[in-house]
């Protein structure tokens, strides 16, 4: 009869973590119940209560997860960059689907583009500025990674902080642009172009937000003196991916 795992590191206990369940509960309340409360049942109360339960659960889950991830030793080290690259394949396909929807509408419209309701003077300088901001943030994060390689933790924190500021500036530009366009009665339901415009830029902006969340997690951990080159690398890899997607968003949505 084979005896179980004697003399192993994990020998006498089952590994557990509260973090994954906290994250799922947070997402369930914040995203699912929040959305359903607001949009399906038009109940601000249900939406606010759900978000009120969801946000702390989600944040607690992420904090617990980052802490564990930076202190526990994995079975095999250094697999996360490969895993994130595989995940990015998935992300590419989700963006491709959105672009496919946009191209379908765009190409079937023929000469009637942009459709009625689109403002005559679309601001084409702002996306250029946003491109510069995002590319700069990719560069500043690269500097942060170099600092980390030199074991300069305070330099790392500083450059991550600058990257976060640039990311926030980018989102600020998006908010400004949306407000401006909404004011001109260009809303998601105006026409086919507004449909694609808000969906694709909005979806990209949500990725910027997630990237910023990851940066924040990296920064907060680094403030406690915890860091890990794989985590730092993955955060950067995701950010560069979001950056590259922006080139496609900008060229397809604004300049075509």
């Amino acid at each position: 009869m084979i005896k179980s795992a004697v003399g192993h590191e994990q020998a006498h206990h089952w590994e557990t973590s509260v973090a994954p369940m906290l994250v799922v509960a947070g997402v369930l309340f914040l995203v699912v119940f929040g959305f359903i409360g607001w949009f399906s049942y038009h109940s601000a109360l249900m939406a606010i209560v759900s978000a009120g339960i969801g946000v702390p659960l989600l944040l607690a889950g992420i904090a617990k997860w980052t802490g564990e991830g930076l202190t526990h030793k994995p079975l095999v080290e250094g697999l996360s960059p490969m895993a994130l690259s595989i995940f990015i394949v998935s992300e590419i396909f989700i963006f491709l689907s959105l672009f496919a929807a946009y191209w379908t509408m765009r190409l079937s419209a023929g000469a009637d583009w942009p459709p009625v309701g689109t403002p005559k003077e679309f601001n084409l300088v702002l996306p250029l500025i946003m491109t510069v901001i995002l590319v700069t943030s990719s560069l500043t994060y690269h500097v942060a990674e170099v600092k980390l390689e030199q074991n300069n933790l305070s330099g790392f924190r500083g450059w991550v902080f600058i990257s976060i500021l640039l990311g926030l500036l980018f989102l600020g530009c998006t908010v400004y642009e949306y407000q401006h366009l909404m004011h001109q009665k260009f809303t998601p339901s105006t026409n086919a172009y507004s449909t694609a415009f808000y969906s694709i830029t909005g979806f990209h902006a949500s990725h910027v937000l997630i990237g910023l969340g990851v940066f924040l997690a990296v920064l907060l951990a680094a403030m406690r003196g915890l860091t890990n080159k794989y985590l730092a690398f993955c955060a950067g890899l995701y950010w560069h991916f979001v950056d590259i997607v922006w080139f496609f968003v900008a060229t397809q949505i604004y300049y075509w």
């Binding site: 206990h13 369940m21 959305f35 399906s40 689907s97 509408m105």
Partner: protein, 533 residues
């Protein structure tokens, strides 16, 4: 036999990051979804017993009630049972053991996957609580899904949660299989089940995001007033069908591949034979991955498309039978001159071969455009995909639980009850679906609850089918109750009751404890999991 942990601790199960316990959590969730979706199937069958309203309240709200059953049956069976039962339960429990790893590459992400799946089940079950029940089939086609009063958000979030769970599991297992094989295990020494999951996870990784995008756009159209699927404002209603089937046809292979993988393991072990044409079967699986992305348009044969595209899609769809044929021959060949032990897993295995052949052959007329135009929207299609996808894959989950039960529970299953359950299941599905094949050819449309405008003799066939469904229900109760009772009271199992050569039997305790293996697994040169000669 001695597992390190003493006794049952709820927190150790709820917060577990161990792949084996996560696998069991997947099994519990998917069997729960299966049970509720099965009850929906019985309701659907009862309603179809007679042409007009049978069990629905009256002719006015009958369609709405029936649509909810149809929605939950489809969505829960595919998203809540088949996919999580195979790539959730079976892959989680077995893959790390089969490749000699202590766990998956990212145990916490694995726990995240299982709880996302459970959250998806919870959202799906809300169907029975909310006043505006979703009634959009599992396909959610616009414009109906956007115009209906049913709660579309529940459908979309079910897909999102379970879809995200699948994507994370794919990433996790692709990395695990690639980087965490025990020293000495090469790519062509992997178990067939490992290969089948590896290919299924590639399909999931690439195609699930497209489904996620499709339903997200549905959500935006419904709640934010965008126009993706609204032809009046420059959108395209067929765009949804394209995006949806771009994932949902390959989803059939996400289910089919691990199901085949399970039967390979059972065949090899029970016949004490190596896999016949191992490499050809592996190339077959890879071929399915390659072709799976080029066949989705055959779901749009009747939605309107140019003729040249119909022909092209017919060719690619028929082409799928080449890799499937390679895999089937290899499955069949594994029995050649074997000393076959006929126990319940092997009963299911044999039944699977029959289901595979009948389901596969009835797929050919559906792939051929001229025949498909007549048969596509009839109960012939309904019976076809229940044979090949529904029953074949369900039997694979049952066979998997029965086969690995001694390892998972540490106890033997009650073989008599398992066998009785098998016969009820097997006879029941034949009684249910053969009549549907026949009236399908005669023109019985699929999905209808009220078929009073069709020939009256259809009702007789429907009655037989309904009796069949209840026979299946008895079989399911026998099978699932057997798992529960035997897990508590069964006879203690030895480490390797079937005499398998695979790592999960030869190198682990029963049931395996934390860390899986007593000592690090290293296999000698030339080792294979099918070393029977």
């Amino acid at each position: 036999m001695s597992t390190a942990s003493s006794g049952f601790k709820l927190s150790e199960w709820l917060f577990t990051t161990d792949h084996k316990r996560i696998g069991v959590l997947y099994l519990i969730g998917s069997v729960a979804a299966f049970a509720v979706a099965g009850i929906m199937a019985l309701l659907i069958r009862l309603e179809q017993m007679s042409p007009g309203p049978t069990i629905v309240s009256d002719a006015y709200v009958g369609g709405d009630q029936y649509n909810v059953w149809l929605y939950f049956h489809g969505a829960a069976m595919i998203l809540g049972f088949l996919i999580p039962g195979l790539t959730g339960f079976a892959a989680n429990y077995l893959l790390p053991l089969m490749i000699g790893a202590k766990d998956v590459a990212f145990p916490r992400i694995n726990a995240l996957s299982v709880w996302l799946f459970w959250a998806g089940i919870v959202v799906a079950l809300l169907t029975f609580v909310v006043p505006d029940k979703p009634d959009v089939m599992w396909t959610g086609y616009p414009p109906y899904s956007i115009k209906t009063g049913g709660n579309l958000a529940l459908y979309v979030f079910t897909v999102h949660l379970i879809g995200f769970s699948s994507i994370l599991a794919s990433v996790n297992f692709l990395v695990t299989i690639t980087y965490m094989r025990a020293p000495g295990i090469g790519w062509f020494q992997l178990n067939m089940f490992t290969w089948s999951c590896f290919t299924a996870f590639i399909i999931q990784l690439v195609f699930v995001p497209v489904l996620a995008a499709a339903v997200t756009l549905l959500l935006l159209d419904r709640y934010l007033g965008t126009h993706f699927y609204d032809p009046a404002n420059g959108g395209d209603v067929l765009l949804y069908q394209n995006l949806f089937w771009f994932y949902s046809h390959p989803a059939v292979y996400v289910i089919f591949l691990p199901a085949m993988g399970i039967f390979y393991e059972i065949y090899a072990t029970m016949a004490k034979n190596p896999i016949f044409n191992y490499k050809a079967a592996v190339y077959g699986m890879c071929g399915i991955v390659l072709i799976s992305g080029e066949v989705w348009v055959h779901h749009l044969y009747y939605s309107g498309m140019p003729d040249w595209l119909r022909i092209g899609q017919m060719v690619t769809t028929l082409l799928i039978s080449v890799p499937v044929g390679l895999m089937t021959i290899s499955l069949f060949g594994t029995l050649y001159r074997g000393a076959i032990t006929f126990n319940t897993p092997m009963y299911y295995g044999t039944a699977a071969l029959y289901l595979l052949i009948i389901g596969g052959l009835t797929g050919i007329p559906l792939a051929i455009t001229v025949l498909s135009v007549h048969l596509g929207e009839t109960s012939f299609t309904h019976a076809h995909f229940h044979f090949i996808m529904g029953i074949f894959a369900t039997f694979s989950v049952f066979a998997a639980v029965d086969f690995w039960f001694p390892k998972i529970a540490g106890r033997m299953l009650n073989e008599k009850q398992a066998r009785l359950g098998f016969w009820f299941n097997f006879i029941g599905v034949n009684v249910t679906f053969w009549p549907l094949f026949i009236i399908g050819v005669q023109g019985m449309p699929r999905r209808y609850w009220d078929y009073s405008q069709f020939p009256p003799h259809f009702a007789d066939y429907h009655k037989v089918a309904t009796i069949g469904a209840f026979i299946v229900a008895i079989g399911m109760v026998l099978t699932i109750s057997n798992w529960i009772i035997s897990a508590i009271k069964g006879q203690r199992a030895t480490d390797n009751p079937w005499g398998s050569r695979s790592l999960e039997w030869t190198h682990t305790a029963t049931p395996p404890g934390p860390g899986n293996f007593p000592k690090d697994v290293v296999v000698e040169a030339g080792w294979t999991p099918y070393d029977y000669k």
